[in-house]
Symmetry: C2
Subunit: 254 residues, 2 copies
């Protein structure tokens, strides 16, 4: 498991030791090697047991390479752990050039067709050729994209990018202009012009500080390098970049 | 994982921290709940990495309920961990009365047919109606049998039973009889009569102490009780019995 998002919308669990875990709603898997996926069924079972009943409607979204949904579904099905926890698996379809020739295995046929109906929900995400990336999720606050990496098995990196937030309201200017505190403040904050009862029209740029730039966090999974231009395009200007520390080529002969 | 056998025929691993693990050649799984099987693929990968190349011909035998072979094979296949380690899975076919009605799931169709050829080798063991047990293995030194238990999912207990060993040679009697140390000692120890060059015939019972009784170890998996007479038949006179500590019926109303 490479990363997880901890939203703040759920009440902390009664047991402080497990408070962090119960908040997990998104899990990102870089590749299918055993040390990255074998713990996942157990984690889902633990989360399922720890969740309070009223929080159980919040599903867990899991993102990872094609084949992950079959692995999770079969593990939980066989151990009779299904369906204590609602979860969805969103699978990234790798390209064959993400691993050495001959190592690539096609998992596109796993548990499709008849078995599909019983498996957990999810989506299958194909590479967007234009951006050389996969769009995993996007809302008003942030976007998450994946890009291709080269490894013994296809691997992926992830970019979490916040969107710019509106600047702060300059209260002293609002007061000078005679804007009454309340809903009009909200309109201006959201970037919309307002008209006062006096007939004066106030533009948002008149009362807002500069927008706050969004932060960008890039996490690369196990790899020996990027595949295609996606990684470089997405990771430029990163605020935080987490990557493998591998030897340079000159060390090969040592 | 409930038990394992640690034979002494392999050289200890260089790393003392992992010396115990590398000796595992048999693994016994009581039932398919996640906390009993989810760690198994990772353990096999670790064992595979730790084994010295010359020891790799010793396969690991894994015994457990029907469905285990499919779980292991798919987990290792998907994570590209196959076939670093030779292993065989011997599956016990449970009976429907080993769990609450409606909870029983038939895994007999999992990965049979076409997929079977790629899966690891193994056997499918059906209940022997006469003894109400499953014979897992038997050699000159010991036997291992499984018996049925009742749980939320079918569960099994295991009995390891040593066979009686020959008594010790009474050396002072051998010397009195004029038996020369060497191969004749071995013959007598194996229970065969020998004839000396003097023409004297020596019977094994004349020179052997009483046979050493074999020990019996019984390990019950998660359960609320036995199914059928197998458990009671097999576990009588046990030297060691490991079982669940559950509440008695009188505690139900508390």
């Amino acid at each position: 498991m490479s990363m997880w998002a901890l939203p703040t919308c759920q009440a902390p669990h009664a047991d402080p030791d497990t408070a962090g875990h119960t908040k997990i709603t998104k899990i990102f898997i870089t590749h299918l090697h055993g040390d990255h996926i074998f713990g996942l069924p157990g984690l889902l079972c633990t989360l399922s047991l720890q969740r309070s009943p009223d929080a159980s409607v919040v599903p867990i979204d899991i993102y990872g390479p094609l084949g992950l949904r079959s692995f999770l579904w079969r593990s939980l099905e066989l151990s009779h752990s299904q369906p204590l926890l609602p979860y969805a698996v969103h699978e990234l379809v790798p390209t064959q050039d993400q691993c050495p020739a001959g190592e690539f295995r096609d998992f596109s046929g796993l548990d499709r067709g008849e078995a599909l109906a019983q498996a957990p929900p999810g989506t299958v995400l194909h590479l967007d050729a234009e951006t050389d990336s996969y769009l995993l999720l996007e809302d008003e606050e942030l976007s998450v994209r994946a890009f291709r990496l080269f490894h013994r098995v296809p691997s992926f990196g992830f970019v979490l990018e916040e969107k710019p937030r509106p600047g702060k309201l300059k209260v002293h200017i609002l007061q000078e202009l005679g804007v009454p505190p309340g809903p009009l403040y909200g309109e201006l904050k959201r970037g919309r012009a307002v008209e006062l009862s006096s007939g004066v029209r106030v533009q948002p740029q008149d009362v807002l500080s500069l927008p706050v730039p969004g932060r960008k966090v890039c996490v690369l999974g196990d790899c020996s390098g990027p595949v295609g231009p996606g990684a470089r395009r997405l990771c430029g200007q990163a605020d935080l970049l987490v990557h493998e520390a591998t030897l340079e080529d000159w060390g090969d002969g040592r």
